[in-house]
Symmetry: C2
Subunit: 345 residues, 2 copies
Amino acid sequence: MTETIHIGNSALQEIDELLRNRAFSKVVVLVDDNTLAHCYPRLKDYLPEHSLIQIPSGEEHKTLQTCELIWQRMTELNLDRWAVLVNLGGGVIGDMGGFCASVFKRGIYFVQVPTTLLAQVDASVGGKTGIDFHGLKNHIGVYQEPQAVFIDPTFLQTLPQRQVKSGYAEIIKHWLIADAEAFQTQRNIGLFTEDWEALIRHSVHIKSEVVTADPLEGGYRKVLNFGHTVGHAVETYLMQQPGRELLHGEAIAVGMFCEAYLSVKKELLSKEELDKIETFLVSVYEKVSIGEDDIEKIAQLALQDKKNTRSTINCTLLQSIGKAVYDQAITLQDIQESLRYYQLL
Amino acid sequence: MTETIHIGNSALQEIDELLRNRAFSKVVVLVDDNTLAHCYPRLKDYLPEHSLIQIPSGEEHKTLQTCELIWQRMTELNLDRWAVLVNLGGGVIGDMGGFCASVFKRGIYFVQVPTTLLAQVDASVGGKTGIDFHGLKNHIGVYQEPQAVFIDPTFLQTLPQRQVKSGYAEIIKHWLIADAEAFQTQRNIGLFTEDWEALIRHSVHIKSEVVTADPLEGGYRKVLNFGHTVGHAVETYLMQQPGRELLHGEAIAVGMFCEAYLSVKKELLSKEELDKIETFLVSVYEKVSIGEDDIEKIAQLALQDKKNTRSTINCTLLQSIGKAVYDQAITLQDIQESLRYYQLL
């Protein structure tokens, strides 16, 4: 697990300390157009002398081609193995920057400074790095822990509401798989909170515990995939349809609907608990329109998902709110049925 | 370290055993044009049902573009994480196949079946995988051990003499850094041997001991870089000059000349031992013609070498035959001087 995850409004002071105390040969900051404009100004006061690598914003740039640009710049900067890459951004920057650092000269150091809620509670914890490949999400990547993660909730003020809701989906997921009480409490409060720092800290704690128990996803870590078998396929499919793209958490919200439904179908979850989950998700997320034509293609895409074994599709389902079970075999037909159910809500 | 390295004429029977006993979901064999024609016919009787991925032969294809083709084929074959890639070939196939497997879906299994002497005594041992990037050797890669390595000396019969000599350079290197007695013995015998299996076994043993002591090249493993600081630069430079390309070991032989010379210059090695090394290398390798124009460019290329720290150039030198010392600072001028010395031989 990550040695040190710093959470709070003073997290950036701690990055300052790390970068000055450790004898890194060079400090390079990876930004996209958005984080250069909105987040870098806040971070830069805490950095020693450094160089910038800038890439375009957006999941469509999480590709091998962008990696090539990053490696080209790293080469021009003459980075050696004692250099450190500071990934300032959301999941795309963290995942792709982590991957680029992990394979450049067989691995240089990197630290994560996640700037979206999604990256703060999910992508920055657990050592998964990667890029998309021919439209398949995180198809190429490695497991590699960063030197440290610095989570400053202040960055959330720079985010549009839609981005915040996207990250919130992973927080909800953490409750659904591991903390029934937090889910019940939050149901009464709704989306908005005064205290993001506490929510983030709790969510990071849940994820860290799971990842520490099973870093390479041999088994138990798969509980984190709840909502992701269907959700990833929905996300991948709509990414290829201009104007219909979803944010990651929006797709995962659809996936959680579908997989909660399948949990009832497989007689794991009670209908009452499904209702509670649905009510809460509906209060936060707008419905995504998915037609009959889409449904077949989404189900086929799910087959190509990384988390499958052999030619069956394994999925994480809920036994109850707060308890997930992994490696539950579901069929293409199950996925189609769940998406039809979602459309009828 | 590699759990299991099988060496001998019955090594392929052991791959049969591994592939049948382990529950891999699919077996895929990576070949190039040469190994498909000359080595695959011998291997295929020992394989269960499998698919082939074929790439063109040659170091010039050890690129990101070829990786893309391999990943594309892996995706089409619908490989999941329990698949295994069998890398049948020389260093290019082993390094690139190992890299492709290590990052596909964040890592599938792979085994190495090295078919050149070079790959048998060097590339297949030690967990280094990688590809060239913009002409820089092994610039992108990871450390990842294969499931197993199967070394069948019978494959050497398919090799041209020039390829055998190339691999022999790494065997000589292993003696120079770790076994003075073997070097002395072999000086009397010369290149040709009746018993490749024993030579390979001894060489793999030396390399394994070094790698086990320091898997991630934090320090001691750097002794294996003897001959490679100058040698890599020579290889990279001449790779870009049509008609002048060298095999890896041929370049490393030049590098060993130069770095043995620098070992004397730095007052580490005696002149008498340098003479012995030179005499032996001259008996095996033809001189490579390197002009004054080349020398400057080669020295500059060495600066971009992975093994450098900060802006000094660290190099592994010899204290005596059989004993190497790493992290010896040398200058651009030193490299140029050593190449000029080599030209005067």
